[in-house]
């Protein structure tokens, strides 16, 4: 090994080390675009990736009150069944944009689509 080789090796090692340090600080676990996020009592319990031509799929979610069934089809998602008295979440039907959220207050379940949002929040 010549001296230049050694220098090169050291520099490479240094770059490796720096990249490692960098990645430790900068890669938080992130939700990538067009995924469905399901939260129960404020915690993420499931993340689903939605393909445009995906067939109908069903999932059971254990909420605070009991079991709920979530259905996805293509890039849409809905609450199919929920153990809440008002059934607001079920009646809401399909959602397909990041501006929409399905919230089941009694069961403490939140379903939303995560994608680059054009606004910080929505009133309505």
């Amino acid at each position: 090994m010549t001296r230049t080789d050694q220098k090169l090796l050291l520099v490479l090692l240094l770059i490796g080390l720096l990249t490692f340090v960098w990645s430790k600080f900068y890669t938080h676990p992130q939700v990538s675009p067009s995924q469905v996020v399901i939260k129960v009592e404020g915690e993420i319990v499931k993340i689903l990736t939605l393909q445009e031509d995906a067939p109908l799929q069903r999932f059971t979610i254990k909420g605070k009150r009991g079991q709920a069934i979530v259905e996805t089809k293509g890039q849409k998602v809905r609450m199919l069944e929920a153990p809440c008295p008002d059934q607001i979440c079920v009646k809401q039907g399909w959602i397909e944009s990041s501006r929409q959220t399905i919230v089941c207050v009694p069961n403490e379940v939140v379903i939303y689509i995560d994608e680059e949002a054009s606004v910080d929040a929505t009133t309505g």
């Binding site: 720096l18 404020g42 501006r99 929040a121 009133t123 309505g124």
Partner: protein, 353 residues
């Protein structure tokens, strides 16, 4: 020896760089988002800053404040004695026609605010609408369309002038038996505003509080960028009707599509007339922008109950109150102060100037 010196230089260079990166990373702004189910809705608080522990603590205190207001104003508590004992509203309603109840300072302030707007709207906005809400079954298990005579009876109990507030004793009294308060039009906004004050007092400079569309922002999104708040299209929930640019402001929307009940295939919303007892149909939605979330919340309901022109004239008389209103015939009206702060892009079914 030369090799050793070179290694030393490189290692110290690496150390300096590494430490630099650590400092840089720590001075980077981060977002802390927390959600809780409170006041019959999902409440989320996003705070921004470099110190996550600090943000966490401030957020916790803000949630504590919202929970306190929620407990004080709850009308339908869970079947536990402690919850009922915590609610001033339940106590006031139980003591209607019997005796005044000493209430929390914040409840007193909410009632004062409600009474002020009752006067200003000449009775259109009324927090003693409780008996009529109960008749329809809002917030209860069973719903029905009340009969004319039932409505008449309940409407006779709706009168904010019979809500006696005693500043000295800090007490509230509904002076007729059967009267009932419903703070649904004030409490959420008030709680959001109190939470914003807590965050501010703790030293948080940038935050967004969202209690199911009751929104309050602190500061700006970025140095040259205000917060962007979408207004939902009232008839197409997946679309936005417009985008507001806000800083240090609150925005609340009241719409005929929120909190509805279905009876025999017909939909009824919860914004009831204190005159007829029926849902008011002048407007589809009213969005109010002000500095104060409590005022925004109350006004969104109060203006919804007025005819569009009357609502705009009323808002114009108030200081720093801006309105976006969708009338029953799908006309979008904006108060002049919103020029430059709103970008409208409604669907084809709407018209606007």
């Amino acid at each position: 020896m030369k090799k050793f010196r070179l290694a030393l230089v490189i290692i110290s260079l690496g150390l300096v760089l590494g430490i630099g990166i650590i400092f840089f990373a720590q001075s980077q702004e981060r977002e802390l988002m927390r959600e809780e189910f409170l006041m019959d809705t999902l409440v989320s608080i996003s705070t921004y800053g470099t110190d996550t522990d600090f943000l966490q603590e401030a957020t916790q205190k803000a949630f504590l404040e919202i929970r306190r207001i929620a407990d004080l104003t709850n009308r339908f508590p869970l079947p536990s004695i402690t919850a009922a004992a915590l609610s001033d509203v339940i106590r006031i309603n139980e003591m209607a026609g019997i005796k005044p109840v000493v209430v929390d300072e914040d409840v007193f302030k909410m009632l004062q605010l409600a009474q002020e707007y009752n006067r200003l709207t000449e009775g259109a906005f009324d927090v003693t609408i409780g008996p009529v809400m109960d008749l329809w079954g809002f917030g209860r298990e069973k719903q029905k369309v009340p009969t004319a005579s039932e409505l008449q009876k309940a409407l006779a109990l709706v009168d904010s002038r019979k809500l006696i507030l005693d500043q000295k004793a800090h007490s509230a009294f509904l002076n007729k038996k059967g009267m009932a308060l419903d703070l649904g039009a004030v409490a959420k906004g008030y709680a959001v505003e109190k939470a914003a004050q807590v965050l501010e007092k703790e030293g948080v400079e940038k935050a967004l509080i969202n209690a199911g569309g009751n929104i309050r922002v602190l500061g700006k999104k970025e140095k040259w960028k205000p917060w962007k708040i979408g207004i939902q299209d009232p008839r197409t929930p997946s679309a936005l009707m417009g985008i507001l640019s806000l800083e240090d402001e609150a925005v609340v929307t009241s719409g005929d599509y929120n909190r509805t009940i279905q009876i025999a295939g017909k939909t009824y919303h919860h914004l009831l007339s204190s005159q007829t007892g029926y849902p008011v149909g002048y407007n589809i939605s009213v969005t109010v922008v002000t500095r104060d979330a409590a005022q925004a919340d109350l006004l969104s309901t109060a203006l919804f109950l007025l005819e569009p022109q009357q609502a705009l004239e009323f808002a114009a008389k108030l200081n720093k109150v801006e309105v976006v209103l969708v009338t029953a015939d799908k006309k979008i009206l904006c108060s002049p102060g919103l020029r430059g702060k709103i970008e409208l892009r409604p669907g084809e079914e709407y018209s606007y100037d």
